[in-house]
């Protein structure tokens, strides 16, 4: 296409996303080149955590991202426990599940109700949506509030959960708190179904229809955020420890985030990918709804815009999963099974599913328990390559349909693409150099 001269617009600040993103579009009639730039300042976490004691390091890793701070904290904590050869108790494992599920509900309800829905309903933000969609917005906020209550109950606070530490938890929540959490979860359960109906009723732009390679942690018995094997819809599978050989990154000059490749091609992670890989392991009402949406074609895996609907399904599933975990917790003794931590030299690798997709951690410690080497890859970094390709495909698709669309309308459509991925740009900009 050659270098197109006329640059029409730059979106300085991508709205309703986490972190600083920009879109630059060069357009000449129907010739177009769209560049998505992720320019949130780099913070070099792998570099600055070197030499820090393990308990300080995991608290720093939690600061990589606010929305999925629970995933970053727990993944770095579990990687550290693998490096020290520590095995945690069942109460800690259950509480960790509850904490991650609550962070999923909080993150998805934030994205579905506050960040993505305004796009599809033609509003600048959720608050202005309140005139026509008042109940949906307030119910969405209540769901987010309940999820935050659980994150604070288990993790000590809603963002950067201090209570989750290497070896277990500082303080165990009381039975009354858990009973209250259980009641509140039941109250917000129907909001998840409202979100599913709302998103299923909208028709997604077709411009992104195409071929996606979905990657997620492989689940055998039930849909979950933890696992030891990474699987993909292209059939490639590999154990967690080998992620740096299979998922290769190359830096690009226009962004602080890099492109990621699996077998030389871009791939996608996130809610849609989890359903693509493990949809069958859902259970209860969410499995029933999932199957209906697949058969009716309302949910398809060949278009990134369905990620929002996938998140809505996960909302319902993780509410049920949290209720299940709470039932188990409420009929077992609640005395703290926190493990004594004796640091020793070693390397720990751990991948868990964060709301936006798999997050990978490799941390190496010396015998004093200080960080020697760290490699952290966030989901949005894995998605950046595919997102960038989709912005370009969306631009071409729109211009093919109606070439004389005016610039503002054109840009408003393009902005919807990164928002569909629910990007977390602050996480993505601190990647490690090639293996």
């Amino acid at each position: 296409m050659g270098k197109i001269q006329r640059k029409i617009i730059t979106v300085e600040h991508l709205a309703r996303v986490e972190g600083r993103g920009m879109i630059e579009v060069y357009r000449e009639g129907t010739n177009v080149k769209a560049v998505l730039r992720l320019v949130e300042g780099p913070r070099f976490f792998e570099y600055i955590t070197r030499g820090k004691p393990y308990d300080v390091a995991v608290d720093m890793y939690s600061r990589i991202c606010a929305i999925c701070s629970a995933s970053h904290k727990l993944t770095s904590v579990m990687a550290t426990e693998r490096a020290f050869g520590i095995e945690v108790g069942t109460l800690t494992k259950l509480l960790r599940k509850l904490l991650v599920y609550a962070s999923f509900i909080e993150s998805h309800s934030l994205h579905v109700f506050l960040l993505a829905l305004p796009d599809f309903l033609g509003y600048p933000d959720a608050i202005s949506m309140a005139d026509k969609y008042g109940t949906e917005v307030t119910k969405g906020l209540m769901m987010k509030k309940v999820a935050n209550y659980i994150q604070a109950m288990v993790g000590g606070r809603e963002i950067h959960q201090e209570n989750a530490i290497v070896g277990g938890f500082g303080k165990i929540p009381s039975r009354e708190e858990m009973n209250q959490a259980y009641r509140q979860l039941e109250e917000i359960r129907d909001t998840a179904k409202i979100a599913i109906e709302l998103l299923a009723s909208l028709d997604m732009p077709k411009y992104l229809d195409g071929e996606y390679n979905h990657v997620a942690l492989k689940q055998t018995d039930e849909f979950d955020a933890f696992g030891d094997v990474v699987a993909s819809t292209s059939g490639v599978e590999f154990p967690v420890e080998k992620y740096r050989e299979y998922l290769v990154e190359k830096p690009v000059s226009h962004s602080f985030t890099k492109f990621a490749y699996l077998d030389g091609k871009e791939f996608m992670v996130g809610a849609l990918s989890r359903l693509a890989v493990n949809g069958e392991t859902l259970w209860g009402e969410s499995l029933k709804i999932y199957k209906e949406l697949i058969d009716s074609g309302k949910l398809r895996f060949n278009n990134a815009f369905y990620n929002n609907l996938a998140q809505a399904i996960e909302l319902l599933y993780f509410i049920d999963a949290s209720l299940e975990v709470l039932r188990k917790l409420l009929d077992m003794p609640l005395d703290n099974d926190r493990v004594e931590v004796k640091p020793k030299a070693g390397v720990g690798v751990c991948i868990t599913e964060a709301p936006r997709g798999i997050v990978s951690y490799t941390v190496e410690y010396n015998d004093k328990g200080e960080v020697v080497f760290a490699d952290l890859v966030a989901p949005t970094a894995y998605n950046f390559n595919t997102m960038h390709r989709d912005v370009q495909r969306m631009a071409e698709g729109i211009l093919a349909d109606n070439p004389d669309i005016d610039d503002d309308e054109f840009i408003r459509y393009l902005e919807m693409v990164p928002r569909a991925y629910d990007p977390c740009i602050s996480c993505s900009v601190h990647l490690i150099r090639e293996a």
């Binding site: 600040h13 913070r43 991202c65 606010a66 906020l141 509030k145 303080k171 000059s253 150099r433």
Partner: protein, 265 residues
């Protein structure tokens, strides 16, 4: 006192967006916030954000790292009556400034993370807190900020005055809650006596040492006294300073003490 509509803006630089998210986490008052004041710019929440318009109060989150950050904060300073440094990144440089003045080199950082011969097309600098770039009127510390304190700040501006800043440590709140003292009880390296209050001593109430996420108290930075206290509990001074610097990256006393220790005084 008639109630004029207060114009408020939220502007992010380099950070984890936790402080802005915590504003969105005030679920039961979020709609009041959007109706009681005029939100002029809040990219994370609304695409109807006009960044060039003037505001009464500008909440700026994050440390200044890229040239875009610097340009943004200078532009906001001109157009805002009050600038509030929101969050420990803006107040003290945050976690990303943990090694400033203690062995941080930007080139090595870029080399470690992005590989040998790599050039961005945007200039990158070591992270700085807001008051190293522009004049800051008020400091709202915390990692992330406290919801109640944010509402207090906003309310004082609505009542046409300004907030009182806390100059006392977390210990005050910890003792008021009747928590056992983590330092005396288990000799843990708790930064409570040194960190700005406002969180209700959340971590010591969980039996964990305070890690200082609200940044050091501006006036009394008893760095030597803290180092001595932790030394008595078996934490060697260099490691004590490392812990103090995690959220107190740009405190001159700590950097000086760190340098003197490294020189082996």
């Amino acid at each position: 006192m008639e109630k004029r509509e207060l114009r408020v803006g939220f502007y992010p630089t380099t950070s984890c967006y936790g402080c802005q998210l915590n504003v969105l986490n005030i679920e039961d008052k979020l709609i009041d916030i959007f109706t009681e004041v005029k939100i002029v710019c809040f990219h994370m929440a609304t695409s109807a954000s006009k960044i060039e318009e003037s505001v009464d109060v500008a909440f700026i989150e994050g440390a200044v790292v890229t040239e875009d950050d610097e340009e943004l904060v200078k532009k906001v300073r001109e157009k805002a009556k009050y600038v509030v440094a929101m969050g420990t990144c803006a107040c003290h440089g945050g976690v990303q400034s943990a090694n400033i003045g203690a062995g941080f080199s930007l080139d090595e950082a870029i080399k470690t993370v992005y590989g040998e011969n790599f050039q961005f097309d945007m200039k990158v600098m070591p992270p700085r807190p807001l008051d190293k770039v522009i004049d800051v009127d008020f400091y709202l510390p915390g990692c992330p900020i406290e919801k109640e304190e944010f509402l207090y700040f906003l309310a004082t501006f609505i009542w046409s005055t300004w907030p009182e800043q806390k100059d006392f440590p977390v210990c005050q709140e910890c003792r008021q809650k009747g928590n056992p003292c983590v330092v005396i009880e288990e000799g843990k390296p708790c930064l409570g006596p040194f960190t700005t209050a406002g969180c209700g001593a959340r971590c010591p109430s969980l039996g964990l040492p305070c890690m200082g996420c609200r940044g050091p108290i501006k006036e009394i930075q008893r760095v030597d006294a803290m180092a001595k206290m932790m030394e008595k509990n078996g934490v060697d001074p260099l490691e004590a300073l490392k812990r103090m610097k995690v959220f107190g990256g740009h405190s001159d006393e700590i950097i000086e003490k760190f340098k003197s220790l490294v020189r082996g005084e």
